[in-house]
Every structure is written in structure tokens, then in C-alpha cells.
Amino acid sequence: MNHVAISGSLVFITSFFSAIFVFIKGPKKDISYTWSLFSLSVASWGFGLFKGFSTDIESVALFWSRYLNLSAIFIPLFFFHFVISFTNRFVTKRKELIFYYIFFISYFLISIILPKIFVYNVRSILSFKYYPSPGPLYYLFPIIFGYLVIYGIVLLFKELIEASSLRKNQIKYLFAGIFIGFAGGSTTFFPVFNIKIYPFGTYLVTIYVLTVTYAIIRYRLMDITILAIRALIFSVVYGVLLALPLFTIFGSKSVIDRISIAIYALLASAAPFIYLFLQRRAEDLLLKDQRRYQHALRELSKTMTRIRDIDQLLKAIVLNVVDTVKVSFAGIYLKDEEYKSYRLKHCFPLKSKDRFQEFIPLDYPLIKVLYDKRLPLLSEEIGPQDKINLDSGLVVPCFMEDDLLGFLVLGAKPNNRMYTPDDIIVFETLSYSTSLAIDNCRFWREIEDRQRKARLQEMDTYSYSLAHEIDNPMYIIIGQAELLKKYFLKCIPDEKERKELEDSFGFILEAAQRVSGMVKAIRDFGSPATGEPRPLKIEEVIESFTKLYSPQFKTNGVSYLKELPVNSIYIRGEKPELMQVLVILANNSLHAMKYSTEKKITLKVEIPNPDWVRICFLDTGCGIRKDLLNVIFSPFTTTKASSEGTGMGLYNAKKIIEKHKGRIWVESGGENKGATFYIELPIAKDITEEELKKEDRGKRLF
């Protein structure tokens, strides 16, 4: 075996695959067909080289020598045709092309009919035992070969100069590849004409295939898609690898050897595919269960973000995990700012609740570990310091950026099987989507809150203006009724009838006055703060509040007691705002006393020192836990169900009192021992007679 044979086989394999590939995958255009034909002729030539230079028998060598040279006749022809297609010159060069076809085919036919005048014989030259020697007709061959190839290359070069940048790159590679290929291939001519130059260039023909392939991939030479390109790469690599067994097949003499090697090569080729196929089937079978729940969890991840209610969301997650993964139990914790801890929100089955501690403080070791690792953790990774009884389970943290929103605690898988790395990846995905979904819920809740607040505000202004709109008609009713009463009483002589009429008017007036009174109370309470503190008697605030809330206390069975000092105490402030503070305290007390046996509210006004007046608001409700005494004035703090309160009441009360330059605080003996709210306000001592006169609501003269 010599180098020419080896390079010939490489040329054959690469060109052949290139021809087939472009023929099948390339666009259905001349350019693909001509390229395929060109490559096929090169492949055929390469095959001839391989056969002719790997034999020891003279007749065989002669046959293949003729074969390879006959194949080579088509190389320049098809190349030229390809260049015509590639440069879109078919219209102008058509006749020329037909002429070359006729010429080359005639040359080919003559050579095949009279082989001796084409390739005369084989002889030994250089290190070759048999090398073709030329017949008379052969001398024409390099000339027409060179002519057509150089003509084609010139056409390509012209195209290269005129081309756009992408096409320039395409042509550059094609140009370089073809140039190298022909230069290399042409070296086989030298020994034919007894020139003692070794045909070193045959390897270069392989390079041309690789270069053009690169151009096809890199610069989409023939609009071949990525998928096709992968196939191409695969075939080229595989072809090169397969060259070795092919050598052996053709080099071997025994038929059995050849067959067995062929089978071996076939099996070796098929093995990777069989392996992949079997591996997939085996995994499908072995991990059937795991696949199923992984799929289910992925589906859950997708649907989760559509849930807007956080409780529903958490419940759905826990139930789904227990149901699909069949873990012994699952629970979910969520960060609870108020309690400075993570709080158990849901668990399933319900009887597993004893395993969980309801609150896990923020500084607990488990939380630190989760912050450190940020990944689902197996119980053995957590360490014994943690108090949750995990039963070889998994903890899945849910992070939003750098904030641990919460985490999912899972029990053991059925039959105490291990959590696999695959599982952990699935739970990691679940944790991401859970974080997103939780955030999503919060976002929705915030929007709803805002909308509700806006609605309340609208209702507020609406009811206030409504109260005013009621005023006018009520005023008409009262005024006109009084007038009518006077008229009619005069006109009715009968004593009894007059008495009846008087009663009727009495009812009308009384009812109308009641409506007016209610409207006035609403107006007082709802009137917007004017922003300028007025001199105000503290007992006036308390009286108004008492009027407003007595019915409430009565219906709730609360005994209400107020203790006021004998003398009037003036402060500066806004009556509606101070009333609102008392209303907030009263609402809280009513809520706190819902289940109390003794229901009593006491309102005391004291003067602890000459500068301050203190209002004490005592109830006999459920009291306040010591640790909450400080936080209850913070916003969004509530012990009521979300539908009952916004957690803003006491926060607002505190703001109002602070605006009045006062203090508010609370004391409680602990749970079920009632609570006392204290409000201290500065006493106004600099109020002048004029100011008071101005506040006199009767007649106002300028």
C-alpha cells in the first residue's frame, strides 16, 4: 500500500459523501446536481487511484489505471458546469457548455473504445510498480483538462471580485479549496509523462473537500440547514473512521475475512444507535414512576402562576406533591414578618401536623443552612441540630432574589427510596416556580388591596357628599311641614281633629329630625380634616363619640361607662380625627370582647399634670400578648381575619395622635386580662375669648 492508494481512498470517501449529501440535502437546483456530479467524478477517480495503486497484478493495475483516467475526463467538465451554475452564467455560456460536453464525451468514448491510444500501458516509475503510461490521445488530456479548469477558476475569480461580503466569503473558500484540489490532483500527471516528480498532491484533494465542507457549514454555501450540516459532519467523521476497515476489506484476500470484517464494521457503526435506543428504553422502564411525577410536577410548575390566592396556591403545592410523589407527608413554611419567623402554612396529611413546629425563627440553624446552600437539601445534609422530624426527607427552599420566601418540607418517598439527583433538579425547578407564584400572589393581593382602598376612599367622599345632599331635602321637609302645621291648625275648628293633625305632624317632624341628626353625625365624623387645629372641648369629642357608638355598644351587650372631669378642658385639634381614634379603639375592643363573659368599656378623662389631659380606654377583652405590645401600632398588624381588618387601624390612630402632639400607648396584664389604651394630649391654655366666639356655631358675623 502506498500513499497514492491511501490518499485515493480518502478522496473517494470524502468526495462520495459530499456528493450524496449535497444531492440529498442541498436545494433542488442545478448548483447541487452539478456539485454532486463533480464530486462523484472526483470520488470515482479517487477510487481508481486506490484500486490501481494497491495491487500487485499488472492487468488489474492497468484496468484501474484506465478507469481512473476515464473518470478524470469528467472532472473538468462537471467542474466547469458547476461554476456556470454557481456564477449564474448558464444563459450566456449554454452553447459553450454543450460544445464541451460533446467534445469531452467524444474524447471519453474514443478512449473507451480504443483504450490503448488513451492509456497505453502501465510501467514502473519512482517507487511505483505500475504507473500509467500515455497513449497518443493522452497528450491532449492535460491540455483540455487545464484549459477548462483554469477557465472555471477565472470565472470564479471574476465572481469573487464582484461579490457581496457574504458571497465573497463563500467563494473565497470554494476558490481556495478548488485551487488546492486541482493543484494537488494535477501532480499525478507528472509520472505519466515520465517526469520524475512524486505525485505528492493527492492528499491535497482531501483538503479541498474539507475546505468546501467548511464553507458549506460556515457560510451556508448552498443554503443547507443546521440539521443537514450535523448529518454532514457525522458522515465525514464516520467516513474517515470507516476508511480503515474498508482498507482491510479490500486489502484482504480471503472472502471470509472480508465478510467478517464487513459485518464487524456494520455492527460497529450500528452500535452507538443501538446503545442509545436501549439506554432510553431501559431508563423509561426503570424510572417510569419517577418520570411520571417529574412530569406532573413540571405541569404543576406551569399552572401555579395562574393561582392568585396565596393560601390556595400553598395548599395546591402541598397536595400535589403528596399526591404525585407519594411522599409520606409534606408541609410548606412561609416567612411571617410579624412573628420574625417562618410559619407553617399548610401540611398534608393533616395528622402529620405534630411533626412540624409551627414557627421556625429567622435565625434558626436550618434557615442559615438554606441561605448558604440555596438548593433542595436532603435531611442528612442538614444536621441533627434541627428540630423538624424529617424522616429522611427533603427541604426545598424558595428564593426570590436573595430573600428566602419560604420552604417546602417533604417526608420520605415510598418504600424509603432515596431522592435521586434527578428528583432534586425537578424540585429545584418547582422551587423557582413556587417563588414566582408566591410573588405573583402577593402582587395580586397588593393590587386588590389598592383597589379596595380606592373604592373605600370613593365611598368615603361619596357618603360625605351624600350626607350633604340629604340635608337640603330634609330641610325642605322640616320647613314645609312646620309651615303646613301652622296653616292647618288654624283652619280646623274641631278640637279632636286638630289634635290628630298635630300628632301626625309631630311624627313627620320627629322622623325627619332623626334623619337629620344621623346625617349630622355622619357629617361630623366624615368631614375632612381642615388641617388647622381648633380649640376643642375634650368632653365634646367624647360626647359625640358616645352618641355615635352607643347603639353599637347596646347591640353588642357592652356596658359603657364614662368618667369626665367637672370642668371643661380645652385642647387644640380636629374633632373628626379625634373621634376616629376613639372609633378605632372601640372597634378593637368590641372585637377583643367577642367571647368575653364580662363586656365593659370604661372611658376616663384624667389630668395627670397641669399640661396634659389623659384619656384612658379600658376594656375587658382578650388582652394583648406581651411581645405584641410594641408592634400593634405598626402598619399591617392584625389579629383579625383578613376580611375584617386591614391592620392599619392602630397605626392610623397613632399617626393622628402624633399629629396632635400627643402620645398613645397600651398596657395589658396579658392574655384574657383586658387592655387599656392611653392617649395623652397637651392642654390648650392660650385660647382667647374671640377664638371661642368664632367657634360658636350659631350666628356667624363677619
Binding site: D471, S527, L701
Partner: protein
């Protein structure tokens, strides 16, 4: 003693009506208007001694303050009592600057109304 003339301006006809009736019975000559333009016309013609003007009149082309202003342009000594609501603080201030005599918060009791009108009477030059 000459009979006192009272002009009542309110865009609620029901209110104008009963105030007129009450004060007619008390011996006043009363005029009613449910919009500012008519009120100014009546004032021009009748020159009432006392005018009661509602500030808030959404159905009138000009509000009470503007009516007051125009009346005071006709007679710079016109005695006007404004009827108002607690929310109309700046309008009350406005009417003060245009020379209103007093203001009453609606809804006012008949005593409050009487008090204001009596006070206004004492402001009038000898009649």
C-alpha cells in the same frame, strides 16, 4: 314703619318657598329666586333690605358668591346673609371679602335664621 323687603335666593324651590312663607307671615315683603341672575334682576328692581343667598347653587349659572358680588356692585351697602355648608370654607372667605354681613351653616334652625335676620335689621339705616 315701612315694611321690610327680604330676598331669598336658593336653587331649591322648596326652601325658597317656605322661607318666603314664614317671613311673609312675620310681616316681610318677600321675593324668591332660584338662580343668581334672576336674583340680581329682582334686587335691581326692588332693592330689598335684606338678602339671603345660598352659596352652593349648581343649577344656577352664577353661584352665590358671584350673586353677592353683583348685588354689592349695585348697592355697596346691601345687607346679605350667606347660606353655606361646612365644606365651602374658601367660598365663605370669598363672600366675606365681597362684603357679606354674616353666614349661616345649612341646615339652620328657624331660631338661627331669626337671629341672623334680627342682627341684620339692626344694621339697617333708620327705617
Amino acid at each position: 314703619m315701612e315694611q321690610l323687603k327680604l330676598l331669598v335666593v336658593d336653587d331649591e324651590p322648596g326652601i325658597v318657598d317656605f322661607i318666603q312663607k314664614i317671613y311673609t307671615r312675620k310681616g316681610f315683603i318677600t321675593f324668591g329666586a332660584t338662580d343668581g341672575i334672576t336674583a340680581v334682576e329682582i334686587y335691581q328692581k326692588e332693592k330689598p333690605h335684606i338678602s339671603l343667598i345660598d352659596i352652593h347653587m349648581p343649577y344656577s349659572p352664577i353661584d352665590g358668591v358671584e350673586t353677592l358680588k353683583r348685588i354689592r356692585e349695585i348697592d355697596k351697602n346691601a345687607v346679605c346673609i350667606m347660606l353655606t355648608r361646612i365644606t365651602e370654607k374658601d367660598k365663605v372667605e370669598g363672600s366675606r371679602s365681597y362684603g357679606a354681613f354674616a353666614y349661616l351653616l345649612k341646615p339652620m334652625s328657624s331660631e338661627e335664621l331669626d337671629g341672623a335676620i334680627n342682627a341684620a335689621k339692626s344694621m339697617l339705616p333708620d327705617i
